[in-house]
């Protein structure tokens, strides 16, 4: 049948065969037969099939041995093939227990082709604990097992079983009051948007044109609805959209048109009755159908809410490990077991570099928790605890760990609730290698500013390298010469441009040497002269006609030769084209002084010469073009410049210059290349699923990091969470500001449910909820998922302690001071001597609080603050100042006062010509606004305008309003590094009522009376 095996193998086979206990497997049939022969020493019977779990660690090990195993299911197949023996009945081989393994604890070792697998009993189930390479050795005793072995996927990425899916679904459908209320909120938001759009209405148009300013003009069809729409809009400007369909009403018949193109923007009615819509985003060259509908804007709301719904579904379906875990934990079920996986040390030189020093234990733990998280991790970052640096470190460490793998597979999504926050995040997470790329449009523009700034910085760094050196000068000049020459060669330049180029060369004697410079100058002057002679077309026609009329035959000359000569001679432009001899001859001919023979000869010569000159100059002006003389000068100039560069510039400088060229001139290539290789993409929560994001990232993100997670609407937060395949890391602080709410919707929900529950749900963020739930889960499975960064480096220790006592300690979260040295926080302002906190009292008699729309203001406080601010700005030129209030009305009042004092312009911007307002680097030193705009920012000194004041003589209880929310107070009082000054009616905050309602402000007032405080009545 086939050739006999090698003699050694043959001998061994014969021995085995005679012993009678062996198993043979045909591995490779055909002409070269490969047999796998295992001898064994005994036989075991397993009556029940045994199922062995394969977890993440085994999957990872297997993948390292065999690169082609992409997914966990591939690993299962491979293990089955390698370990189970194919045959009429299921069999496998195990190592006979040598005494160290005892069967009671269920441990045994399976032997397969080239590998062995240790199996042990864990929580009453068999689990593969490791795989090793295995070589058969004679002394090993093997047992043949008759019985079935199955491998089951217990890795995190294992496909969900039907049971598990049902369980998740049930979980989602169970009465989860928290999410149910948010779902309702979502629906109401959609309804409200649809109602608003419906209120505007819709009308058909049958003509559309693009106007010069980029807006679109629509001619409405004659229709009742058209009149209604015009009436409704009237002289207002409203949000409109236009396209084939009516977004808010799908029942409107849109004919056969299938285009989904739509433009959205502010619209108005023109005097002619047409509708003009100015698109709010740059729509490129969208092709709108010639007839369609104009309607109230709704598409954007629909997109926003659809995105939330899709994320909700993803969570319900448990599409990825993190969301599955999230759903389980939020549903108060025991967390899905995380199994074993490879753990990475959190610390590296890179992490230390990004953090700018040794991390605190909590920071280190946060990084550890995040990079090794099997599903979800949450980091609470109280003010000044280095939250953004930790994010940057996590990002850097992940990039380090995944260095060998493709960017696509291991990419990080950086996201937050608002464009500004995302931009800050991008800036913070830029660890100096490849910058994260932010995707998505803000106000209709792609925000590439960070990337542009990064490129710019890179160029600047490269430039600085040879900014002042001679080498740099010469390289720059050479590059400019190359640019100009390339332009000249590619564009067929006109004469003016050519002359300009020659002039440039003439001026750069040092680059091209004197000989070339002189030639260039000469050529430039010649061109100028010759083209100056070309003259206007009409003149040329006239000159040509005169020249052709000159008589060049004897008969003709006799007839009117002198007359035609005179006509030419007396025409100035004709005269100008002649040389001296020609002029003399023409003059003689005009006088009749020439003999006929002489005359016809010289007239012919004049005629030909004049026609040729005119035709040449006409051609020159006609062909906008290049001149070989100029080409030659350019070639020489380039050669000479190259020679100079070779002589004077080192090769390193040259390579750097080349790199710089690419970075500067091919921004698109740089952008694409960074996109492809960057380890992090950034977008707002909503835009994490935008089309441009999907184009770049086709597979889920390995890691999703959400900053300011407590400020995101829970439904928006789910969008990025559903994109994480490996882990989701939420960073934020629920003691600071919560999510923004549509104030009109909350009452609608309250009307239907218990209003206390509703308020509780809507005022609490998903982040806060997870903070508690994840801690519960930790108690169940011991997996650490939550950490509070507990050391603040921002504030003066007195203020740090104050913030901790007021806002964190009551909840069992503790923030200690990273710097105990008070001198570090000295501000040097004489009016505040050595204080860290102060209260400027503005008593009721200074002026009352006044209503400002739905808000409040107190002009008296504004005056005090601006006075204090002005003096402080003048006294110290380095400190930065924040002016915080809780009321829009008061912020406006402060801006008014700033304007009075000459510190601000009409549109609430700082006076750019007032030097003290600007730092030496040109950055503003003052920021004024309501507390909502201050989260995440820090200043040396903060003035806090408390605004509300007891009406003098009133017996009413004081009204604290907004101030009551501790989250807002926490943000407002934790922005300063050195000094916090409250400005307001102290009688209002020193009462027992205030102690009850506003413990923090009351305590602060008390603090200002202490060792580090200062009280003053300005």
């Amino acid at each position: 049948m086939c050739d006999p095996p090698e003699p050694d193998d043959l001998e061994w086979l014969q021995t085995v065969a005679s012993a009678g206990t062996y198993v043979v497997e045909l591995l490779q049939p055909g002409t070269d037969v490969v047999l796998r022969v295992l001898t064994f020493d005994g036989i075991q019977h397993w009556t029940e099939p045994r199922e062995i779990g394969v977890d993440d660690l085994i999957v990872e090990t297997a993948q390292r041995t065999n690169r082609s195993l992409k997914r966990s299911t591939d690993v299962i197949d491979w293990l089955t093939e390698t370990i189970c023996l194919a045959g009429p009945e299921p069999m496998a081989v195990v190592v006979a227990s040598s005494g160290t393994h005892d069967d009671k604890n269920g441990a045994f070792r399976l032997v397969g082709a080239g590998i062995a697998m240790d199996v042990k009993l864990l929580d009453e189930r068999l689990v593969a604990s490791r795989i090793v390479r295995y070589r058969p050795r004679a002394e090993r005793r093997l047992l043949l097992v008759r019985g079935e072995i199955r491998f089951s996927d217990i890795s995190r990425t294992a496909p969900l079983s039907y049971m598990q899916q049902q369980e998740l679904r049930q979980l989602a459908e169970e009465n989860n009051a928290y999410l149910a209320i948010w779902d309702e909120y979502n629906q109401l938001e959609l309804n409200a948007a649809a109602a608003a759009a419906r209120d505007i209405g819709w009308a058909p148009y049958d003509r559309v044109s693009r106007r010069a300013d980029g807006s679109w003009e629509f001619e409405l069809r004659t229709h009742l609805r058209s009149d209604a729409l015009r009436d409704r809009i009237g002289s207002e400007t409203v949000g409109l959209e236009a396209g084939a369909k009516v977004a808010f009403d799908e029942t409107v018949d849109t004919g056969r048109s299938s285009t989904t193109k739509v433009i959205i923007g502010l619209g108005r009615v023109t005097r002619q009755g047409t509708i003009v819509i100015t698109p709010s985003a740059d729509d490129g060259d969208v092709a709108l159908p010639q007839s369609g509908h104009v309607a109230g804007a709704f598409t954007l709301d629909k997109v926003r809410i659809d995105r939330r719904n899709r994320a909700r579904e993803a969570i319900t379906d448990g599409t990825t490990v993190p969301v599955r875990q999230l759903a389980t934990i939020l549903g108060d079920k025991p967390p899905i077991p995380v199994g074993r996986r490879r753990l990475h040390p959190p610390m590296s030189a890179r992490v230390r570099e990004v953090l700018g020093g040794q991390p605190t234990p909590a920071q280190l733990q946060a990084i550890d928790m995040a990079i090794n998280s099997p599903d979800v991790a949450l980091i609470q970052g109280p003010p000044g605890t280095g939250k953004t640096r930790v994010i940057a470190a996590i990002q850097a460490r992940l990039a380090e760990i995944n260095r060998g793998e493709s960017a696509l597979a291991r990419r990080v999504l950086l996201t937050s609730y608002q464009h500004d926050a995302v931009a800050n995040l991008v800036q913070a997470a830029d660890d100096g290698t490849l910058p994260p790329v932010k995707l998505g449009r803000q106000d209709g523009r792609e925000d590439q500013s960070h990337l542009a700034a990064w490129t710019h910085d890179l160029i600047k760094r490269l430039e600085r390298r040879h900014a002042t050196s001679h080498s740099g000068d010469i390289l720059r000049a050479q590059r400019e010469l190359a640019d100009r020459t390339d332009y000249y060669l590619n564009v067929n330049p006109n004469v003016t441009e050519t002359v300009e180029l020659l002039g440039w060369i003439e001026r750069h004697v040092d680059l091209v040497d004197a000989g070339i410079a002189v030639d260039a100058g000469r050529a430039a002057r010649r061109l100028t002269y010759e083209l100056g002679a070309a003259g206007a077309r009409v003149h040329q026609e006239r000159i040509l006609a005169l020249a052709r009329r000159l008589r060049t035959t004897a008969a003709g000359y006799e007839d009117d030769g002198a007359d035609t000569a005179r006509a030419a001679f007396t025409t100035q432009s004709f005269h100008d084209t002649l040389d001296g001899e020609q002029r003399r001859n023409l003059e003689a001919a005009a006088r009749g002084d020439l003999s006929i023979d002489e005359a016809i000869k010289s007239m012919a010569a004049i005629r030909d010469s004049v026609i040729d000159r005119v035709l040449d100059s006409r051609a020159r002006a006609g062909f906008v073009s290049r001149f070989p003389e100029v080409d030659a000068i350019l070639q020489r100039a380039r050669n000479e410049a190259q020679r100079q560069v070779d002589l004077q510039v080192t090769s390193v400088d040259r390579v750097v210059a080349g790199f710089r060229d690419v970075v500067e001139r091919q921004p698109a290539a740089v952008h694409d290349s960074i996109m492809a290789h960057t380890r992090a993409l950034a977008a707002t929560c909503q835009q994490s699923v935008s089309g441009s994001m999907r184009d770049v990232q086709s597979v889920p993100f390995d890691t999703v990091i959400v900053d300011e997670a407590a400020r995101a609407n829970p439904l928006d937060l789910m969008i990025p969470l559903a994109l994480a395949s490996g882990r989701a890391i939420l960073v934020g602080d629920h003691r600071q500001l919560p999510q923004l709410l549509d104030e009109t919707i909350a009452p609608k929900i309250s009307a239907r449910h218990d209003s206390v529950v509703v308020r509780n749900v809507l005022s609490r963020s998903l982040f806060e909820r997870l903070f508690t739930k994840l801690q519960d889960a930790e108690r169940r499975d011991g997996q650490k998922r939550v950490i509070t960064l507990d050391r603040q480096y921002r504030m003066h220790p007195v203020l740090g302690t104050f913030i901790n006592q007021q806002f964190y300690a009551p909840y069992g979260e503790h923030v200690t001071n990273g710097f105990s040295d008070e001198a570090r926080f000295a501000h040097g302002l004489t009016r505040y001597s050595g204080a860290a906190c102060g209260w400027l009292d503005v008593p009721p008699e200074s002026g009352p609080e006044v209503r400002a729309g739905s808000s409040f203001s107190r002009p008296a406080e504004a005056t005090v603050i601006v006075n204090e601010l002005k003096d402080a700005l003048e006294e110290n030129h380095d400190l930065t100042f924040g002016v915080v209030t809780f009321y829009k009305g008061q912020a406006a009042a402060i801006w008014r006062e700033m304007r009075e004092a000459g510190l601000a312009d009409r549109d609430e911007t700082l006076n750019s010509s007032y030097p003290a307002l600007w730092s030496s680097r040109g950055l503003p030193r003052v920021r004024i606004g309501t507390v909502d705009a201050f989260q995440g920012r820090e200043f040396d000194v903060v003035f806090l305008s408390t605004t509300r004041s007891r009406r003098s003589g009133s017996r009413q209880r004081p009204q604290f309003g907004f101030l009551v929310l501790p989250n807002r107070l926490c943000v407002a009082m934790s922005r300063q590094r050195r000094l916090l000054v409250a400005v307001g009616d102290s009688s209002m905050y020193s009462t027992d009522e205030a102690r009850e309602a506003l413990p923090a402000l009351h305590a602060f007032f008390e603090l200002t009376g202490g060792e580090h405080g200062l009280r003053r009545r300005p």
Partner: protein
């Protein structure tokens, strides 16, 4: 910077990079120029020829569809630049069979290369340029299909002459060029100087070959000769005209394509000009009609071409009652005739042309006043479902008999006439008569 063989520099100091070759003849080759779609360059075989080019350049050729020298190229290579639109190619390629390799001569090929309408249009345009040169006292001398450039687009018929090297004035004619083989006047073979009448003979040959796809002397007798000898004898005028009234020895052989289409593509007037040129005028130049006459007759023929009502693609003279290709009967045809005089006393007819019922018809200065130098429509007739919309130039008026300005007319029933008076400032008034010729 390039210095290879494709780079040339003209006298004005401009550098050009040669593009693809367009045409090649005994005196040189014509190339496109990279980066200048409106420019072509001719490089000369003999640098001596440059002298002649210099004088040609001085000729007043502005405004003529002639690729005249713009600047000269001297030095390593000799030649000149010329203006030539990029969307044109030499006539030889699509129009002439056999001369330049085998070519189908089938009805289908004939119509796919533009059919009678386009051939007549190009013929008329060629006659127009030649007539204009003759009007300036110049002879072109070397008319042949290599030198006629036509639009690449089959729906357009812009026609330019290139290769003006041999343009010469009649007062001081240059002799040396006898003409391209198959495109020569017999007297030039006998050392007569170039003349406008020699040009007219070659123009006739050119027109005949375009329409009938044969040389006018290439009949049965020529077919019986050896190819070279036949060609030589044709150029010398030693053979009778294929449609000579008195000598039928050189008739077109029955059943050949040329024989089949002869009457279909040559109008009666064109046939008369051919007889005058190739029978009486073959050896006696003074008997030949001039190029202006050719122009007139060719445009008149073009005016009376209609398209097959079925979409078979053929175009033919309106006097033919059914499409010669597919047999579909010709439909009713609207005709516009131009007269002098007034309503009371119409003078003799000046021109008659077909008014299309599917596309706009331009009434041109040549129709009204015989002006071939102006190309803007004086009146445009737009077909509508009810008749014709009349769109005159802004200072032109059309009035009916009652003196009322007319903006649209209905097509009259067969046998009836609509008359209009056309008045344009500074021009003689014209009478227009619109008729419908009934379908057969």
């Amino acid at each position: 910077m390039r210095s290879d063989a494709t780079l040339v520099t003209d006298d004005a100091g401009v550098n050009f990079t040669l593009g693809p070759l367009i045409a090649k003849g005994g005196q040189g080759a014509v190339y496109r120029v990279e980066g200048y779609p409106e420019v072509a360059i001719k490089l000369l075989e003999r640098p001596e020829d440059l002298e002649r080019i210099k004088s040609v350049r001085r000729l007043p050729l502005d405004g003529l569809p002639v690729a005249a020298p713009v600047t000269l190229i001297q030095g390593r290579r000799s030649g000149y630049t010329m203006r030539l639109a990029s969307d044109m190619r030499p006539l030889r390629e699509p129009y002439l069979p056999s001369d330049f390799g085998p070519r189908e001569t089938t009805p289908r090929w004939y119509s796919e290369t533009g059919g009678l309408r386009r051939r007549l249009a190009i013929a008329a345009n060629t006659a127009d340029v030649i007539a204009k040169l003759h009007g300036l006292g110049l002879t072109y001398v070397d008319l042949n299909p290599n030198n006629v450039m036509v639009s690449v687009d089959l729906t357009r018929d812009v026609t330019w002459l290139i290769d003006c090297d041999n343009l010469t004035s009649m007062s001081k004619p240059k002799w040396d060029v006898l003409g391209f083989r198959g495109y020569a006047a017999p007297e030039r073979k006998r050392k007569a100087p170039p003349s406008t009448l020699a040009d007219a003979y070659i123009l006739g040959v050119h027109v005949f070959r375009m329409l009938v796809l044969r040389h006018p002397l290439e009949g049965a007798m020529a077919d019986a000769l050896d190819g070279n000898e036949a060609r030589e004898r044709m150029d010398r005028g030693d053979l009778p005209y294929v449609a000579d009234r008195d000598d039928d020895s050189n008739r077109l052989a029955r059943g050949t394509f040329g024989w089949g289409i002869f009457d279909l593509v040559l109008s009666k007037q064109v046939q008369r000009l051919c007889r005058q040129t190739f029978s009486e005028g073959r050896l006696d130049p003074t008997k030949r009609p001039g190029s202006a006459r050719w122009r007139e007759v060719l445009f008149a023929a073009l005016n009376n071409v209609i398209d097959c009502p079925a979409p078979c693609g053929w175009s033919y003279f309106r006097t033919v009652k059914a499409c010669p290709s597919c047999g579909t009967p010709s439909g009713a045809v609207a005709l516009l005739s131009v007269y002098g005089g007034d309503f009371e006393q119409p003078l003799s007819e000046r021109d008659t042309f077909v008014v299309s019922q599917s596309i706009d018809t331009a009434v041109l200065p040549r129709h009204l006043w015989g002006r071939f130098d102006q190309h803007d429509a004086v009146v445009t007739l737009q077909p509508t479902s009810r008749g014709l919309e009349i769109k005159p130039q802004h200072d032109v008026t059309l009035t009916d008999k009652s003196g009322k300005v007319t903006q649209r007319v209905r097509l009259p029933a067969p046998g009836r006439v609509v008359r209009l008076k056309l008045e344009a400032p500074g021009r003689p008034a014209r009478m227009l008569a619109l008729r419908t010729m009934a379908a057969s």
